[in-house]
């Protein structure tokens, strides 16, 4: 058996499964915005997030029929901050997530200063090195270069994971 070829096949299989998982999620941008905003508002009620929620997520229409949800800044009481963008495209019979970026900045003196969760717009050539959906732990070339495979989840579940697991625990 050629181990490299087998690893490559397995990585492609994993990225193909990402595509199937994305296709199974029929999520329109407006309802996603409302859900994510309501979730952040609850986090505010629990005194984990600061600020007002009304405009915290903006819905933008981009060329080529794409919709983008953009949260420029959500500030945690712990001084962590979160930014995210989610792109959605219309595919029959509904909407499909095509790309997302969640960037969590953790405050010093945490040992981990940044966590990034990305869904790339397309499956890359090097599925083994760069899974389509992945997480970076740390910032920049020195610490955050590794692309750790991450499951394709609905944005609400990613947000929940960030708010309830990653933000409170990472680097503490």
């Amino acid at each position: 058996m050629n181990i490299e070829a087998e690893l490559d096949r397995l990585a492609h299989e994993r990225d193909d499964a990402y595509g199937v998982a994305l296709a199974a999620m029929d999520l329109d941008a407006a309802s996603q915005l409302r859900q994510l905003r309501a979730y952040l508002a609850r986090q505010q009620d629990h005194r984990r997030i600061k600020g007002t929620m009304d405009k915290i997520i903006q819905l933008r229409q981009l060329p080529d029929g794409l919709n983008e949800l953009d949260c420029a800044r959500a500030e945690f009481v712990s001084e962590s901050r979160l930014e995210f963008t989610i792109r959605m495209e219309q595919r029959q019979p509904g909407w499909r997530i095509s790309q997302f970026r969640f960037h969590l900045h953790l405050p010093s003196p945490r040992e981990v200063t940044m966590v990034r969760i990305h869904l790339n717009a397309q499956q890359g050539r090097d599925c083994l090195g760069v899974p389509r959906c992945h997480m970076h732990i740390g910032r920049g070339r020195k610490h955050g270069k590794a692309h750790i495979p991450f499951p394709v989840l609905s944005p609400l579940l990613v947000l929940h994971l960030i708010c309830e697991v990653i933000e409170p625990d990472f680097g503490e």
């Binding site: 407006a30 309802s31 409302r34 859900q35 508002a41």
Partner: protein, 143 residues
């Protein structure tokens, strides 16, 4: 337009959520007739997302003979006052202590002039209003 504070459907439902679902409330919401359906739709979705509760929508022109009995099913009631019906407004005024006695929430949606007439004609209802706001849709349809 009137001098009342502005609110969005999201913010209004958030206020209801913060007070608690068992906290009775009557809001008079002022909006332009042209966008009333959009406001209704926004409110229904926000009630679903934030309160996980059903919302019933009624037009007062359809209620003229039935009055407005308490829902009793835990739903948030949205009543669009789409027609000036003085007898029904008088009945609402008379029965205002009982409109949300089951701990429910009643959202009265009316145009600017209609809202002012209600406030003038129904002093008991006015005194029981939790608040009066101008409300606009959020235009989140994407596209």
């Amino acid at each position: 337009m009137s001098d009342f504070d502005h609110i969005t459907p999201f913010r209004l439902v958030r206020t209801i959520a913060a007070a608690g679902r068992g906290h009775p409330a009557i809001y008079l919401l002022i909006c332009e007739a042209a966008v009333a359906k959009l406001v209704e739709a926004d409110l229904r979705v926000e009630i679903d997302v934030q309160l996980d509760a059903p919302a019933t929508t009624e037009a007062i022109s359809e209620l003229r003979d039935k009055g407005l009995p308490p829902s009793g099913d835990g739903s948030v009631r949205l009543v669009h006052i789409d027609q000036w019906l003085p007898k029904l407004v008088d009945a609402l005024d008379r029965h205002s202590p009982f409109l949300v006695q089951d701990g429910s929430q009643l959202l009265l949606l009316a145009g600017d002039e209609m809202a002012k007439r209600i406030i003038r004609r129904a002093p008991n209802l006015r005194n029981r209003l939790t608040d009066v706001f101008e409300i606009e849709p959020e235009y989140l349809s994407g596209g």
